[in-house]
């Protein structure tokens, strides 16, 4: 945070996860209840029997857009748009949305497999797949707007379009740290006065068949990996009458050092590093042990909450859901100061410090 600048505070939040469509109670639920993965419906056709942490159907009362708009959206884009709408409502930000910033961590592309299947079916001749048939008939078999589902910046853009958020913005590809970068940029935009209010968050799913197949292929879908999905958003501002929390620090480092060293480096210069809650947001199973080890070495007395154990791996969304889970525990009075650590497959580590407002 820029020294001397007004503190950045959290005015509202949103979370969509297997625990439901709201953020209040998320941290407590994660603390009290173990993940109960169920057989994935979204992966049923491609990877039958995979246990997942899946959202229930999106209730009409919280959904965004009409049927045509929803067809344009990837799963992550739809989750992101719902989360942004909820965060704006939660913060009570109904006016001047054209000046609100929006910074998002986004994951992989998520085109409809039905469209892809139709495209491939129409692209076959007697000898199998034909590039000529693809050009002349396969393309015509899919929706003209298929490409919009593939563009992962639309995870941010649909949210902006649906909610009228038109300030400074950026989408960062995230395998963990990109989501932290989104928060850091939102905080910087606020510190610099580029905007007075900003949203920071992420939406992603590990339950797209291609994403999951690639996770399997890369050897990441093992060691307790439970594919999940979700979205988390914080509504940040420089001034609020009744802030929910204060964003005291946000930074990232890496690669090149051991995770414990990265965490130490990250937190150098942070005032009074006493925390009573550490929330871990690992991207993938290998990062889980890394973060736990770093946290236990440095913050032995603090309560430890690994949100991937409760929500599965929601990829880019995991850090954002962790911020919101920590916020819930702060707001409910169960913690005073929370450190949220994230790590991904890119050997980078990020840290966020949230405190209760004084």
């Amino acid at each position: 945070m820029k020294r001397g600048a007004p503190p950045i505070v959290v005015s509202g939040a949103a979370a969509l996860s297997a625990f439901g469509f709201g953020w209040r109670g998320l941290g407590r639920a994660l603390r009290d209840r173990a993940l109960k993965p169920a057989v994935s419906t979204q992966l049923q056709e491609s990877h039958a029997g995979v246990l997942a942490s899946e959202l229930a159907s999106i209730p009409a009362a919280v959904d965004v857009g009409d049927a045509r708009t929803q067809k344009l959206m990837s799963r992550a884009a739809r989750l992101g748009a719902v989360a942004v709408k909820q965060a704006l409502d939660d913060a009570g930000w109904a006016d001047a949305r054209e000046e609100i910033g929006c910074f998002f961590g986004v994951g992989a592309s998520g085109g409809s497999m039905t469209e892809l299947r139709e495209m491939l079916r129409a692209s076959r001749d007697d000898a199998g797949f034909s590039l000529t048939r693809f050009g002349s008939a396969g393309l015509a078999a899919c929706s003209p707007l298929f490409a919009f589902q593939l563009m992962n910046n639309f995870t941010l853009c649909h949210a902006a379009i649906q909610s009228g958020v038109a300030g400074p913005n950026s989408a960062f590809y995230s395998r963990g740290n990109g989501t932290l970068v989104a928060l850091a940029e939102a905080a910087h935009a606020l510190s610099e006065g580029d905007c007075a209010r900003a949203l920071a968050g992420a939406a992603d799913t590990a339950l797209h068949p291609v994403t999951f197949a690639e996770l399997v292929r890369e050897g990441r879908a093992q060691n307790g990996f439970v594919p999940g999905e979700g979205a988390g958003v914080l509504a940040l501002t420089r001034e609020a009458e009744q802030p929910l929390a204060v964003l005291e620090h946000c930074g990232f480092r890496g690669p090149g050092l051991a995770p414990s060293e990265l965490v130490r480096e990250l937190l150098e210069g942070v005032d009074g590093l006493e925390v009573d809650l550490v929330v871990l947001a690992p991207w993938g199973a290998s990062a889980r042990a890394t973060l736990r080890e770093a946290a236990e070495a440095r913050f032995a007395g603090a309560a430890l909450l690994d949100i991937s154990l409760g929500l599965g791996d929601s990829l880019a969304a995991t850090p954002a859901l962790a911020w919101v889970a920590a916020l819930d525990l702060l707001v409910s009075g169960e913690a005073e100061r929370a450190l949220i650590l994230n790590a991904g497959t890119d050997a980078a580590v990020g840290a966020v410090l949230l405190g209760r407002p004084t």
């Binding site: 054209e98 298929f146 992962n152 910046n153 909610s163 960062f172 590809y173 940029e185 399997v216």
Partner: protein, 430 residues
Amino acid sequence: MSAAVITGVGVVSAFGVGARAFFGGLSEGRSAITQIRSFDASAFPTRVAGEVPVITVDGSWLRSQLVGSSAAADSRLDEYEQRGAFRDRKVGFGLLAAAEAWRAARCGEAEKEAWLSLALGLEQAFLEDFAPLSAAGGVDWAAPPQTALPRVRLRSRLDLCAEVLGRYFELRGPSLVNASACAAGALAVAHAASLIERGAASIVLCGGADSMLNPLGLGGMSRLLAPSPRNELDACRPFDRRRDGLVIGEGAAMFVVESAERAQRRNVRPLARILGWGSTQDAYRATAPRPDGSAASRAIQRALARARLGPEAVGYINAHGTGTPLNDEAEAIAIRAALGAHADHVPVSSIKGALGHLMAASGAIELAACLLPFERGLLPGTAHHRDRDPRCDVSVIGERPLAARVEVVLKNSFGFGGQNASIVLGRAVT
């Protein structure tokens, strides 16, 4: 607060590999649009593109272009080739452009502390890999890693190019990948400048790489009806009355951006200063830009405000200028709204007619084109622009470059989905 300067540039474009080819093509007012040759696009609705003149991007071609690689770097190249990384053409393009920028900025061991800030296009989906599995009666999704799937990449990771660059150059700084579609290139460079300015980094390797010249990429864009329906070499005609769509391009542009103090200490000549940047969102429609250009105009105004410059300071505008009917008109309105009467006097051009639309990398390669005025005293021309559309009420430079001395240039990049970015460059102080 540190000022950010560009000290190295590298380019891979349809003009060929290297900044020399790029600046040469622009200086001569040439167009590099050709029939697509890297795969059989004869049955596709779109058959012309700004294609980098190489059929297959592989390790041997990359090694022939990379001079002076260390043994360790070569070995990493081999490793990535074995993993099929270069099937995604942008990975190789990004590597070559980065190597040129790195060399041009005379980066050495100390510069390995650099951060990466890259704009990278979508993951490349390997349609040709889906297809045989599908034809065999359904994708074998659950195949264990050691059987079918290693031979098959359903798609390459979006940040693969960043990983390759980070390991090839042994960079120690964090890696940031901007995924803001056509605005990403400008935003990635702006982010680099911001990191320098705020003191988070003192040197950043930044830019963009993209290639949609693969069956699904080209097909998807064609299906959107974004490309010109004509398959002529002048298919993209920015700001022209007859414009009817874009032409897809591919390539990469990379920069070394560092603090002015660091550049001075290293005795490296800055090519330009990065003075300001701004971004906004149209928040309008998924399929079209906001027609009144109001959000794009605010991005320009934000960039100028950050640069502490008035509209009258702008000497040249490198437009997003896609050649689509809606974009060019909205952009012209945005420029006029931001610059007021000064818009009558500012030359505007787009290089997309000559090189195509590089999507995520467009902002980066067009920012490289913005160095031409500083390096050669030339403002790039607008290939295939012959008859200005009166609804595009800006001073468009024609097909030939314009000789002029300017001190400040403005670059616009507007992305699918409504993301707008503008960035302001200034002549380096010598």
